[in-house]
């Protein structure tokens, strides 16, 4: 396999570019998008690369269409992705729910910018966390990854595809304009060394006829591929295991939705990823994620030098959420600070997790600039 960029060595590239290259290395061969700052560079890279690797890159009429095309492509067996920012992400909520309900693997990248509405197109924010988790209507669960560096943007894109395929679910890669536009040195591995997961497909016509039956007991039904004789029927209406619409039977709705939620919530251990810095003996914990966590790491190092026993929990996945882990941390520390580029989103999750065992305080930042280490130090000190 020939790639239109160098592999097996490091490169100096933007976060958006890293996401595009990682997607192609993960096996993504369908991209549909609509121009939007600060995500357009992902699309432009895909437009450059996809025709060369016999993939498709297509500009749709809007973001409603982009995500719809991606879902359609996924049902032909393709790994597919779209990328956008807040205003487009809002438009995608409808079909994100369709992807959840029909259990369609796909990756949606949201390169966050200041909002609400058109907001601050060129500046970074972390204001879409709750939207990524809960933005589409109805009960559901979803997976949301939050890279803090260009290397993480690369690595987490590959992971996003693997999680999407493994759990037959949409995955949101929630990054921001800062990570999207910054350039860093990124290690692009040898393609043969990349772990790639592919969705389970039905082992028989009979399995294909029931695309929503938990054949393997892991909550993840094998997914038919259109055009291979399964004659699957897929609908966003509440459906039985056959895919037949059953819109008034409470028990069918309950068993479908509980399975869709459980396949993610019961696999938290596999999905959740985090890193800690100086947290083991800390008196004060900082919880942060994405771009804000970089300043938090620096802040912890400076606070330690000053003799303050601070530690950091850096979340790489903000949903599913490990409430129990937060409670265990809350039992050990006096206080937890949540540093995020919004007016309090993950803060509420942490507060729920802390369960009153420690005070939880927010270190917010809005306006477009990332927290400085000083912003955090002054609150903690």
């Amino acid at each position: 396999m020939r790639y239109p960029f160098s592999v097996g060595r490091s490169d100096f590239i933007q976060g958006d570019e890293a996401i595009a290259r990682a997607a192609i290395l993960a096996g993504c061969r369908f991209y549909a998008g609509y121009p939007i700052t600060p995500a357009s560079e992902i699309f432009e890279a895909m437009a450059l690369y996809m025709p060369l690797v016999d993939g498709v890159s297509i500009q749709m009429e809007d973001e409603l269409g982009s995500i719809a095309a991606v879902i359609g492509a996924s049902w032909t067996g393709a790994k597919a992705m779209t990328a956008t920012s807040g205003p487009g992400f809002s438009l995608m909520m409808e079909n994100l729910g369709y992807a959840v309900m029909t259990e369609t693997p796909m990756v949606v990248v949201d390169v966050q910018r200041g909002g609400p509405s058109t907001g601050q197109p060129t500046l970074a924010a972390q204001g879409d966390v709750m939207q990524a988790i809960w933005g589409t209507h109805g009960d559901h669960s979803i997976i949301v990854l939050t890279p803090a560096t260009v290397q993480e943007a690369f690595d987490m894109t590959i992971r996003a595809f693997n999680l999407a395929e493994k759990y037959r679910t949409p995955v949101v890669l929630l990054t921001d304009g800062e990570v999207g536009h910054m350039r860093e040195r990124v290690n692009i591995p040898d393609p043969d060394e990349i772990e790639r997961i592919y969705r389970k497909i039905p082992k028989s016509k009979e399995q294909g006829k029931y695309p929503f039956r938990d054949w393997d007991g892991d909550g993840v039904p094998p997914m038919p591929v259109f055009g291979r004789g399964y004659r699957a029927y897929i609908t966003g209406l509440t459906h039985d295991e056959r895919g037949k619409p059953k819109t008034v039977e409470a028990e069918i709705h309950e068993s479908l939705i509980r399975r869709i939620v459980d396949k993610i919530e019961k696999n938290k251990k596999d999905i959740i990823d985090y890193e800690t810095f100086d947290l083991d003996d800390a008196d004060v914990a900082i919880v942060s994620y994405g771009i804000a966590s970089r300043s938090a790491i620096r802040a912890v190092k400076i606070l330690r030098k000053e003799g303050i026993k601070a530690g950091l929990l850096k979340l790489n996945v903000v949903w599913p959420f490990d409430f129990e882990m937060i409670e265990r941390i809350a039992e050990r520390v006096n206080r937890i600070y949540v540093a995020e580029m919004n007016l309090g989103q993950v803060y509420h999750l942490v507060k729920e997790g802390a369960n009153g065992k420690a005070e939880v305080e927010l270190i917010p930042k809005i306006g477009g600039e990332v927290h400085t280490p000083k912003d955090i130090i002054e609150r903690v000190r």
Partner: protein, 171 residues
């Protein structure tokens, strides 16, 4: 860790200079981050490229106190001078920037016009000067970065401009 800020106006190639400096550091295996800030205008507004280079893991995402500030225009200088740390190195285009702080520099734009023969290469002239004065990365790494990053067919003139700036800085 070294924080470098390059400030000028849109169209001077400030960001490309920052990208090439960053690429050179990456070629040397250093940890490096490059960001940019520009007005909504493509031409004529302020334009800033930040480069942070470090042997340690790099967490910082912005230039907080620049060790090196290179101002290629007055508008860039005015917006960035407060970010230069005390005792930091100030490099200016001596024809275009007036400063009341201690500085080094050369008439980069004039050198690009007269010695290179193309005013557009001012960014490479200035970058050559910066690299010679600071030694932050090796000359050869920058030359490799230029070959990778400039539009095909313009490698030689950009390399020439970089070397002219470098010689000026090495004087």
């Amino acid at each position: 860790m070294t924080q470098i800020r390059i400030a000028g106006f849109g169209g001077q190639g400030v960001i490309l200079a920052g990208v090439i400096l960053g690429e050179a550091a990456a070629i040397e295996g250093l940890n490096v981050l490059q960001t940019q800030d520009y007005g909504s205008q493509s031409r004529g507004g302020h334009s800033v490229a930040d480069v942070i280079i470090s042997r340690e893991p790099l967490y910082d995402v912005m230039v907080t106190k620049a060790d090196v500030l290179m101002a290629m225009s007055q508008i860039g200088y005015n917006g960035a001078i407060d970010s230069l740390r005390e005792g930091g190195t100030l490099i200016i285009d001596t024809d275009l920037v007036k400063s009341d702080r201690e500085f080094i520099g050369a008439p980069f734009t004039r050198l690009a016009e007269e010695k290179v023969g193309l005013a557009l290469t001012v960014n490479m002239v200035a970058l050559g000067y910066l690299v010679a004065k600071t030694g932050i990365v090796k000359k050869e790494s920058v030359e490799e970065a230029i070959r990778r990053r400039v539009p095909r067919g313009t490698e030689e003139i950009n390399l020439k401009a970089f070397r002219i700036g470098y010689e000026e800085g090495a004087k």
